[in-house]
C-alpha cells in the first residue's frame, strides 16, 4: 500500500487541480493567520500596561472596517467560484460510452465490486490506468461513503438509489479505499484497496 507522507500522493486527474486550490487557500489562510497573530502579539507588547507608548488620538476607523468586510468578501468569492468549478467537474459524468462502468455495492461491512464482464471482487477494485472509470454505487443497508484519498473523491452510497461517480487514474499503484460515513460496528474495517494497473495487465487480470 502507499506510504503516508506529509503530502498526500495524488493518483487521478483530479488530484492536481485539488492540490493547487488547496495550496492557494492554505497560503492565503497562513498569511492571514500569521498577520493577525503577529499584530496581536505586537500590540500586546507595545501597549502593555507598564509601557509608556503613546496612546493619544485613537481615530474611528470606519474606512478600515469597510475594508476588512469587502477585501475578504472578494477573496471568498474567488475561492468559491474556483472550488465550485472543480466541484462541477467532479459531478459531471464522463462521456457515457467512453467510460468503463463498474458496479459497487456497499453493505455492512464490505465493498462488493462487479466488473462489466461479470468478474467480481470484494474490498478490492482493479482498474486500468488512463481510462475513465464510472462507478455505479448503491447500498444494501445503511449509508456508506466511498472515499479514495489518492483520487480526492468521496461520495455517499445510499440505500434508495444508485449514484454514479467517476475518476481517471493517472498513476499505477495501490491506494486506500475507506468507508467515510459511519455505518455501525465494523465501520473502521470497511476498508479496501484500489489497484491501478497498466491497461494490458488489467485486461489480463480480467481473464484470470
Amino acid at each position: 500500500m502507499e506510504r503516508f507522507a506529509p503530502f498526500l500522493k495524488g493518483a487521478s486527474s483530479l488530484s492536481d487541480s485539488f492540490d493547487v486550490l488547496f495550496l492557494v487557500l492554505l497560503s492565503l489562510c497562513s498569511v492571514v493567520a500569521f498577520s493577525i497573530t503577529f499584530l496581536a502579539i505586537f500590540f500586546a507588547i507595545k501597549y502593555r500596561h507598564s509601557s509608556g507608548a503613546n496612546r493619544a488620538k485613537i481615530r474611528k476607523g470606519r474606512a478600515i472596517e469597510f475594508a476588512w468586510i469587502f477585501v475578504p468578501l472578494g477573496l471568498f468569492l474567488v475561492i468559491f467560484v474556483w472550488a465550485a468549478n472543480l466541484y462541477i467537474e467532479i459531478f459531471a459524468p464522463p462521456q457515457e460510452d467512453a467510460a468503463l462502468k463498474i458496479t459497487v455495492v456497499g453493505k455492512q461491512w464490505m465493498w462488493k465490486v462487479q466488473h462489466p464482464g461479470g468478474k467480481r471482487e470484494i474490498n478490492e477494485l482493479h482498474v486500468p490506468r488512463g481510462d475513465t472509470v464510472q462507478l455505479d454505487m448503491i447500498s444494501k443497508d445503511v449509508i456508506h461513503s466511498f472515499f479514495v484519498p489518492a483520487f480526492r473523491i468521496k461520495h455517499d452510497v445510499l440505500p434508495h438509489g444508485s449514484i454514479s461517480i467517476w475518476f481517471h487514474p493517472t498513476e499505477t499503484g495501490e491506494y486506500y479505499l475507506f468507508c467515510a460515513e459511519y455505518c455501525g460496528t465494523g465501520h473502521s474495517r470497511m476498508v479496501g484497496r484500489i489497484i491501478v494497473m497498466e491497461p494490458s495487465a488489467y485486461a489480463q487480470w480480467l481473464q484470470e
Binding site: R3, F4, A33, A40, Y47, G61, L77, Y87, R189
Partner: protein, 535 residues
C-alpha cells in the same frame, strides 16, 4: 418583592445553606450555580469518554476496547459534550448569572421557568446517563438514519428522549432571556449601550427558540420510525434518509452558533476590560452577531456536499457559508484592533480570551476549506472536520467559558482565584489543545476518516502526538477545578470590582445581594467606557 438587603449586604449565597434552599430557589444567580455544578459534572463525564478514545487511538490496531464499545464512547462523548455541556455552558451558567446583573434587573423575567429549565436539564441528563449505564448507544451524536432508526441495536430511544427533554431547557432559558432583555433593561440602557455579551445571548436565544423545536421533531420522527416502523427515513419502508440530514442540520448547524456566539460575547467583555479600551467598532460587532445568527440558519447543507444533495443546492450552501464567515472575520479583526493603543495587562481571563481569539481564528480559517466545495469532497467526514470543529467549540467556546469563569469568579464567589495558577492553567490548556488537535488537521488531509476504531499504521505518529496532547489538555482542565474550589475557602476576599471593569454587574457587591441592586441603576454612558490613559 421583599429583599433582606440591608447595609450589611447579605449575599445571595447567604440566603440559605440547606439543599432545599438551593433546589427550590428562584434566584437566577443560584440557578446559575446549579447549572455550573451540573455541566461541570457532564464535562468530566464527556471528557472521560474522550480519554478512552484517545487511549484507543494512541496505537493503530483496535486493541483496547471492541469496535462496538469504541463507537459507544464517541457517541457518548458527542451527545454529552454537545447537549449537556457546550450548549448550556455559557448561556445557562454565565448568562443566567449575568444577564439580569448586566442590564440592571432584579432577576430574569420568569424565575420559576428558569428553575424548571434546570430540572428539565437534569431529567434529560438522567435519561441520557441511564441509557449509557444500561449499555450505551452507538449511532454517533448525529443519529444518521437509517442506521439510528432501523439498524442500531442500542438504547437509541432513551438517548433521544434525553436530548428531547434537554432541548426544552434550552427553549425555556431562551424565552426567559429574550423577554428579560426586551422588557427589563435599566433606565438609560438602550440597545446600543448593551454589553456585547447581552447581544450575544440575545441572538443565541433567538436561535434556540427557532431551531430547537426542529431537533425535537426530527428525533421524534426517528423514534416513531424505530418503534412503529413508519417509513419516514428508511428507504426500505419508503422513507428518505436525506430528509433526516436536512432536518438534523437545520438545528445542528445553528447549534454551533449557540455554542460560539456567547463565547464571542465573553471574549468581548474580557478583551475590552484588560485593554482598558472601548471595543473597536461596537456597532459592527453587534451587527456581526445578528448577521451570524441569521445567515447561520441558511448554511446547513454544507454538511451534505457529498451526501447526494443536488449540485446546485451544494453551490448555494457553499456561497452562504462563505458569507457567514465574513461577520466572524470582522469580529477577529475588531478584537485585534481593540488591543491597539490599549493599556494591556495579562491576568488569567485575558490569557484565555486571547487564546480564544487565536483558536477561533484557526477554526474559522479551516472552515473556509470545508466551505470550498471541491476541497470539502476530500476533507468531509475526515479528521480535518474533527479538528476544525474542535478548534471552534473547544478552542473557542471552552476557552471563553473558562475565561469567563475566571473573570466573573470574584463576582460569583466573592473570592479571588490564585492568579498565577490561573495563568498557568490557561497556558497548559492552550498548548495541550494545539498538540491534541493540530495533528488532526494533517490526519484528515491525509485521509483518515472520523469514527474509526482502528487506522492504517502510517498514521500512528500523528495519532500518538494527538493522544499525548490530550493528556496535557486533561491536566489543564483539571487544574482549575482544584484551585477554584480551593479559592472558595482560602482565596483573597474580593471587593465589588477587582478588575476596575465597567458594566453594571460590577456596581453591586461581590457576591451580589438577592435582588441584585439596592436601587435600580441608571445608565448614562456607552458600554465599555474605558480609557487607556488614566488607569
Amino acid at each position: 418583592m421583599n429583599t433582606n438587603a440591608g447595609p450589611q449586604h447579605r449575599s445571595y449565597i447567604d440566603e440559605g445553606y440547606s439543599l432545599k434552599s438551593w433546589l427550590t430557589t428562584h434566584d437566577h444567580k443560584r440557578i446559575a450555580l446549579l447549572y455550573m455544578v451540573s455541566i461541570t459534572l457532564f464535562f468530566f463525564i464527556g471528557g472521560a469518554a474522550a480519554t478512552i478514545m484517545r487511549l484507543e487511538l494512541a496505537t493503530a490496531p483496535g486493541d483496547l476496547v471492541t469496535s462496538q464499545t469504541y463507537n459507544k464512547f464517541f457517541t457518548a462523548h458527542g451527545v454529552i459534550m454537545v447537549w449537556f455541556f457546550l450548549i448550556p455552558s455559557i448561556p445557562n451558567v454565565m448568562g443566567n448569572f449575568l444577564v439580569p446583573l448586566m442590564i440592571g434587573a432584579r432577576d430574569l423575567a420568569f424565575p420559576r421557568l428558569n428553575l424548571a429549565s434546570w430540572y428539565l436539564y437534569t431529567l434529560g441528563g438522567i435519561f441520557t446517563i441511564g441509557a449509557l449505564i444500561a449499555g450505551g448507544v452507538d449511532t454517533g451524536w448525529t443519529f444518521y438514519t437509517p442506521y439510528s432508526s432501523m439498524f442500531s441495536n442500542t438504547n437509541v430511544i432513551a438517548v433521544i428522549i434525553g436530548v428531547f427533554i434537554v432541548g426544552f431547557s434550552s427553549i425555556f432559558t431562551a424565552i426567559n432571556f429574550i423577554v428579560t432583555i426586551h422588557k427589563m433593561r435599566a433606565p438609560g440602557l438602550t440597545w446600543f449601550r448593551l454589553p456585547l455579551f447581552i447581544w450575544a445571548n440575545y441572538a443565541t436565544s433567538v436561535i434556540m427558540v427557532m431551531a430547537t423545536p426542529v431537533l425535537a421533531m426530527t428525533l421524534s420522527l426517528v423514534a416513531i420510525e424505530r418503534i412503529f416502523q413508519v417509513g419516514i427515513f428508511d428507504p426500505a419502508l419508503g422513507g428518505d434518509p436525506l430528509l433526516f440530514q436536512h432536518l438534523f442540520w437545520f438545528y445542528s448547524h445553528p447549534a454551533v452558533y449557540i455554542m460560539v456566539l456567547p463565547a464571542m460575547g465573553v471574549a468581548s467583555e474580557i478583551i475590552t476590560c484588560f485593554s482598558r479600551k472601548p471595543i473597536f467598532g461596537y456597532r459592527f460587532m453587534a451587527y456581526a452577531i445578528i448577521g451570524i445568527a441569521v445567515i447561520g440558519f441558511l448554511v446547513w447543507g454544507h454538511h451534505m456536499f457529498v451526501s447526494g444533495q443536488s449540485m446546485y443546492a451544494g453551490m448555494m450552501f457553499s456561497l452562504l457559508s462563505f458569507l457567514v464567515a465574513i461577520p466572524s472575520a470582522i469580529k477577529v479583526f475588531n478584537w485585534t484592533a481593540t488591543l491597539y493603543k490599549g493599556s494591556i495587562s495579562f491576568e488569567a481571563p485575558m490569557l484565555y480570551a486571547l487564546g480564544f481569539v487565536g483558536l477561533f481564528m484557526m477554526g474559522g480559517l479551516t472552515g473556509l476549506f470545508l466551505a470550498s466545495l471541491a476541497l470539502d469532497v476530500h476533507l468531509t467526514d475526515t479528521y480535518f472536520v474533527i479538528a476544525h470543529f474542535h478548534y471552534i467549540m473547544v478552542g473557542g467556546s471552552v476557552m471563553a467559558y473558562l475565561g469567563g469563569i475566571h473573570y466573573w469568579w470574584p463576582k460569583m464567589s466573592g473570592r479571588l482565584y490564585p492568579e498565577n495558577w490561573g495563568r498557568f492553567a490557561a497556558i497548559v490548556i492552550f498548548v495541550g489543545f494545539n498538540l491534541t488537535f493540530f495533528p488532526q488537521f494533517l490526519l484528515g488531509y491525509l485521509g483518515m476518516p472520523r469514527r474509526y476504531h482502528q487506522y492504517p499504521e502510517e498514521l500512528q505518529l500523528l495519532n500518538g502526538l494527538s493522544s499525548a496532547g490530550a493528556a496535557v489538555l486533561a491536566v489543564g482542565y483539571i487544574l482549575p477545578l482544584f484551585y477554584l474550589l480551593w479559592s472558595l475557602r482560602y482565596g483573597k476576599v474580593s471587593d465589588s470590582n477587582p478588575w476596575k471593569a465597567k458594566g453594571l454587574e460590577w456596581k453591586t457587591p461581590s457576591p451580589p445581594i438577592k435582588g441584585n441592586f439596592e436601587e435600580t441603576p441608571i445608565v448614562k454612558e456607552e458600554a465599555y467606557a474605558y480609557s487607556p490613559q488614566k488607569s
